[in-house]
């Protein structure tokens, strides 16, 4: 179990390129996050939990999909930690597993309407499907 946690943490750090030890725990990421109220684990908690190897709860959390990927936290972090990249790395870890796709191409036609920008569909596929 311990080994598995370490392996997951290593993988997240590698895919994200983030070093959570750079965090000085100022909370500016969570102060800036527009999806804060929707998220169970907030950006600063993501950074701290990955640092501690507390990955399991993050994998199961809805927060992965509530993050807007607006990158406000990345832009404003004074320590250059890039929390959104960590969220993305954890999300990738989930959707890369067999059967974890949250959006299949054949689901898309029924979601389409004139209002929906095409860019949103592309980015949704990028975010929710492997």
């Amino acid at each position: 179990m311990e080994n598995n946690t370490n392996r997951m943490k290593e993988q997240i750090l590698r895919t994200s390129g983030v070093n959570p030890l750079k965090c000085m725990r100022c909370g500016k990421c969570s102060g800036t996050c527009p999806a804060y109220d929707e998220m169970e684990y907030h950006p600063h908690e993501f950074v701290y939990m990955v640092e501690r190897g507390d990955i399991e709860p993050l994998l199961k959390s809805e927060s992965l999909y509530k993050c807007l990927s607006c990158f406000a936290c990345v832009d404003r972090c004074p320590r250059d930690v890039e929390p959104a990249k960590l969220v993305e790395a954890v999300r990738l870890m989930v959707i890369r597993q067999q059967g974890q796709n949250h959006l299949k191409p054949d689901q898309i036609p029924e979601m389409l309407d004139d209002e929906l920008p095409q860019q949103a569909i592309v980015s949704a596929l990028r975010k929710y499907a492997k």
Partner: protein, 664 residues
């Protein structure tokens, strides 16, 4: 042939832990010229020095090599030891087997091998060393202080009190610096002006102090004890010695729309102005960028109303040249620009201000007469949010901000919050902090009083976003302890901006050849043991130009810098550095390469008559080094194409011998 003694130091376990010192001493015993080689636990101790002393006497040594720490640490110590035993101090060489060897290696075998090689190189050099005698230079008994803030004023006062004349050069029309702009000072809340202005007056009236206000240092030449400095006295278009400072001109000047930098441009002043009521010198200055008379030749109101006839529109910048023995840099700091921090809407809203602007709003002499009013509509703010660490403690890779902690913000923010609650109990005051850092006498007690007695809301977390909506400022922030995102409707947001060295510091450092760190703070000669001296001899540091500092710390450092200056000026003569360049006139081809590369202007060319081998005489142009000016940098020895130029104590032959010894 030299008779060389080798002394290997253990430095406790600092060296002996990674280097087999006995093996080093044994290996070096058989190097050419070595007659004795030994080791000891602490060479720098009295017992160690006595051992060297005895060895020199008993073995008639002509040179010694000490394998120990960096020469920056103890070269002077061992040179003194050698001298006391009758040896020329320049016959001592240090092999640095601590910083360059034991501290950087972990493996005993490798460490020992390298220590032997370094020792061998030093022995090779001593074999070619010759006794050197330093020349003496006189000391100009006068100091220059650059910057007239509290640091510069205090340094100048302390030097002047010891009986030495001091000049203060200040680029603004008045001395006083940042402290003159402050309202109250932590942690005792005494008013800044009440404690600063008496010192300004004392400086102005001191017989040993001359204040050169509205002036800038333009050029610095020379060396410790003998600096020659060019100072530009900017034209203020007012005769300083005649103006009485009555202020009539500043009331009558029709040009009223000049942004007032003393109030951080929150109000306007006239084109002719005295920065503030207690300015020293209390003399008016005309701002040439705004004066109608100077720009178009049509006005002249100030000249008409001046009863002392002090106005002179024809004044020109004046360059004066002065000699000094010591120079103190006291150039101070500025808050960094808040413009790159878009998330705090500093450029969008007038009601987002910096702490220094808040200081002016609270000051009785400020733009609001000391009433806390919003800059946008002049209304009294009811909810105020203070944001700490704006631009401080940022990663070196972040797009903006400084890497260091600005040190003063925690305390002045506590002060601002406390004073606000004291004067206006109907205001809600929030302080967003990452850490509250209060290491100072009575500092933490002060911060706790803000929380416990004045009811300031301290929230652990950072503000993420400030957005102006109507006449409110929507503040979105995180409260880390409650794990909540807060949304506060604020009337005023105050940013504790990071501080940075004044812009004039870098060009000054270049003129002084004083070193700086990556943040443009002056570097001290030693961070712990020589904190008020620059590594450049004769240059001293006072105040925030060396690093962020509050007033108590600045004043202590200013006094310390003064003590060092007094110590220097009290000497009649200074021993120079004998390791200077010298030119072999027979080899010099007169090409001027050395003259062009010399950063100190120490080389001149003369035309001399030479008796040639065939008994004829010839006139030849050859280089001559002024040994008092030469700093021994060695640039000329590299530039010289004919090999005529050499550095005493570091001759090319000696360096090559070291290289050969290392590569053996």
């Amino acid at each position: 042939m030299q008779r060389i003694g080798v002394f290997v130091c253990h430095c406790g376990t600092n060296i002996a832990g990674t280097v087999d010192v006995k093996a080093v001493a044994e290996a070096l015993r058989y190097e050419p010229g070595v007659v004795i080689s030994t080791e000891y636990q602490y060479m720098c101790s009295q017992a160690g020095q006595d051992m060297i002393h005895e060895a020199i006497r008993e073995n008639n040594l002509t040179g010694i090599v000490v394998c120990s720490c960096s020469p920056r640490m103890h070269e002077a110590t061992f040179r003194k030891t050698a001298q006391s035993a009758g040896l020329n101090p320049y016959m001592v060489e240090i092999a640095n087997i601590r910083e360059q060897c034991s501290w950087v290696h972990k493996d005993m075998e490798i460490g020992t091998e390298k220590a032997i090689i370094l020792g061998r190189a030093a022995i090779a050099k001593v074999n070619l060393n010759a006794p050197l005698t330093p020349g003496e230079t006189p000391v100009t008994k006068r100091a220059l202080v650059i910057g007239g803030g509290i640091a510069g004023i205090q340094t100048a006062l302390d030097i002047a009190d010891a009986g030495f004349p001091v000049d203060i050069v200040e680029t603004k029309p008045t001395i006083g610096g940042k402290m003159a702009q402050l309202d109250k000072t932590f942690p005792t809340l005494d008013c800044a002006a009440c404690i600063l202005t008496p010192k300004m007056v004392e400086a102005a009236q001191h017989e040993n102090i001359r204040i050169l206000s509205y002036s800038e240092v333009q050029d610095i030449k020379g060396f410790v004890g003998n600096f020659t400095v060019q100072i530009k006295k900017k034209a203020r278009y007012v005769k300083e010695d005649i103006c009485t400072g009555c202020g009539l001109c500043t009331e009558k000047c029709p040009q009223k729309k000049v942004p007032n930098e003393f109030n951080l441009e929150m109000d306007n002043r006239r084109a002719i102005y005295i920065p503030f009521a207690q300015a020293v010198p209390k003399v008016a200055t005309i701002d040439p960028n705004y004066c109608t008379m100077l720009k178009t030749g049509k006005c002249g109101v100030c000249a008409k109303v001046c009863t002392a006839k002090a106005i002179d529109y024809t004044q020109k910048d004046e360059i004066m040249e002065e000699k000094y023995g010591a120079i103190v840099a006291a150039t101070g700091f500025n808050p960094i620009s808040m413009k790159p921090f878009d998330e705090y809407a500093y450029s969008q809203s007038k009601d987002v201000i910096t702490s220094l602007e808040f200081e002016r709003l609270m000051n009785a002499a400020g733009p609001t007469g000391g009433k806390l009013l919003r800059p946008s509509d002049g209304k009294h703010p009811h909810t105020i949010v203070f944001v700490q660490c704006v631009g401080s403690r940022c990663s070196a890779h972040a797009s903006k901000g400084k890497e260091y902690c600005s040190k003063i913000c925690c305390m002045y923010t506590a002060k601002h919050a406390m004073l606000t609650r004291d004067k206006y109990p109907d205001t809600d005051v929030y302080v967003f902090y990452i850490d509250v850092r209060t290491p100072g006498k009575n500092f933490d007690e002060f911060y706790r009083r803000a929380v416990e007695e004045y009811g300031v809301h301290y929230v652990k977390g950072m503000v993420g976003k400030v957005s102006p909506e109507g006449d409110k400022l929507m503040v979105q922030a995180s409260d880390l302890l409650a794990d909540k995102q807060l949304h506060i409707e604020a009337d005023l947001v105050v940013l504790a901006a990071a501080i940075e060295p004044d812009m004039s510091a870098r060009p000054l450092a270049t003129m002084l050849t004083a070193s700086m760190d990556t943040n443009d703070f002056f570097t001290e000669a030693h961070p712990k043991l020589r904190p008020v001296e620059s590594p450049t001899a004769g240059v001293f540091l006072s105040g925030a130009c060396q690093g962020p500092k509050d007033i108590p710390e600045t004043v202590s450092q200013a006094g310390a810098a003064a003590a060092k200056v007094i110590g220097l000026l009290a000497k009649d003569k200074l021993k120079g550095n004998p390791c200077v360049a010298g030119s072999d006139e027979w080899m010099c081809n007169g090409c001027s390469s050395c003259e062009r590369v010399c950063p100190y202007g120490a080389i001149t060319y003369v035309t001399k008559e030479f008796r040639m081998p065939d008994r004829t005489t010839a006139l030849r142009r050859v280089a001559q080094v002024n040994e008092a000016v030469c700093q021994g940098c060695g640039a000329c020895t590299v530039a010289c194409p004919s090999g005529a130029m050499d550095l005493k104590g570091f001759a090319s032959s000696q360096i090559m011998a070291e290289v050969d010894a290392i590569c053996k």
